[in-house]
Amino acid sequence: MNNRPSLTGLALSMLFAIFAAAMLFPIGLTLVSSLMSEAEISQNYDLIGKMVDTADGGKDAFVNLKLLPDWLTIQQYAQVLILSPKFLSMFWNSVGLVGPIVVGQIVVGSLAAYAFAKLRFPGRDKLFFVYLMTMLMPFQVTLVPNYLVIDKLGLMNHSSAIILPGIFGAFGVFMMRQFMAHIPYALTEAAKIDGAGQLTIFWRVVLPLAKPGLAALAVLLFVDYWNMIEQPLIFLQDSVKQPLSLYLAQINQSARGVGFAASSLYMAPMVLLFLYAESYFVEGIQHSGIKG
């Protein structure tokens, strides 16, 4: 294969570019709409969710897909950021939930992953299979017993009800094991012969080599938990403590213009993180392959 694209390559590239544009469209439309005034938004999108009776002489009416604002305004952002303090407080709620989960799951996960990847103990593979299975289960599967456990621990309506299960999620263990399994035994064995204990080997040899894995895990966890809806829906009934995802679900219906701005701010950290750390992201996904 030569490195210069051929003519078919050019045609394909163009076809792809169209497809890619379609993929980006929902994101772009959100950003563009966030810069429109409330009046412009309601003028174009007010018909959403309304049953217009076209039978009684009225013309067919549709929403008007508006790609460019009549004039740019940051009115919606001002509304979201300054005039309604709820957004910012829920933004920090999200940060306060996701931050500890990411840090915690990385610490707990890489410790356990070391045992799975580099140590021998009876029942290792069976235990790992159990971890793997829980990772695959939908949240609803353990809803009732989870509720009971969290209630028993007195965590109901407390952010710990989300954070603690998050920290002990199996995904971190799984992915760090995949990364650590690729570190050659020769390295850990050599350290062992030099008289290093397991903790030293973990800290000085394995962890530095698994750094790309740690970064990849952080990115993937961040994206996943930033997006969570089911857990806070059940365990955080108190709306003061809820994260942004639930706030958006409410606001999108009532004030669409503000919703667009809030949505843009909500996705911004993830999109920026992704663009900044895309290679880690890709590497993380590739390592999540089960074999290895």
């Binding site: 694209p5 993929m23 008007n64 045992a115 456990v149 089911e230 996904i285 392959g289």
Partner: protein, 284 residues
Amino acid sequence: MSRDGAVAGLFLAPSLIGFSVFYLIPFVLGFYQSFTDGAIGGQLVGFRNYADLLHSASFRKAAGNTMLFTAVGVPLLIILSMTLAILLNRSLYLRSWLRTSFMLPLVVPVASVVTVWQVFFDWNGTLNAWLHELGMARVDWMQSNWSMSIVVVMYVWKNIGYDMILLLAGLQSIPKDYYETASLEGAGRFRQFRHITVIYLTPTLFFVLLISIINSFKVFRETYLLAGDYPYDRLYMLQHYMNNMFFELDVQKLTAAATLMVGCIVMLTSGLLRAERRFRENSE
């Protein structure tokens, strides 16, 4: 060896304690509850909850919809992402830009694009406006059997990047000289695809299939945000059912449904892993 075991115990302890409290014990509790009558103290009732569950019309509806969604969405997603990966595996203009744009939906939170989906698929939405331009009648996308295809679109939109990355990695791990040898021996493009690409990509495909099925369960977020607790019949999935049973405090049906679902996932996963192992042994 035994010292290794003791050290392993220390490394595992934090994870194992939390994992047991928040995942393992809840699961075992749920399993047990699915065989009791739910009163405090709980009498064992054998399989009665399961019988009730299987007779419940809304459970059947939910299970059927979930299966239908997985059966349609997953193959479609895999075919599309496979096509993308194969085409992106050659030199294209703007290749890395294209790759980035296919992956971007993966990180965009579901809640932040719900309004856009509404703009498109509402009764008065853009899609219907286009149909109207073409002189066709409008379709009530969210309140008809079409609703599931809308969710399939959202599922593909969100997950195509993930599968594409996995498949690209699989494709790039196939040594180039296999293709060179094959074309020297006169094998055409299609034969090369069938006998090299497909064979060497199969292990990756097993994993992609598994991940796609698992991700198909997560589509609940989209349907929930778009259509709420009780969406149109076609969209009523097992997760809606379980959520609603939870709020109706019907613990018996919920735990029985959960146990059935766990059983299915475990069987599916171990089946896929076994098939993968057998495939690898045969091809070596």
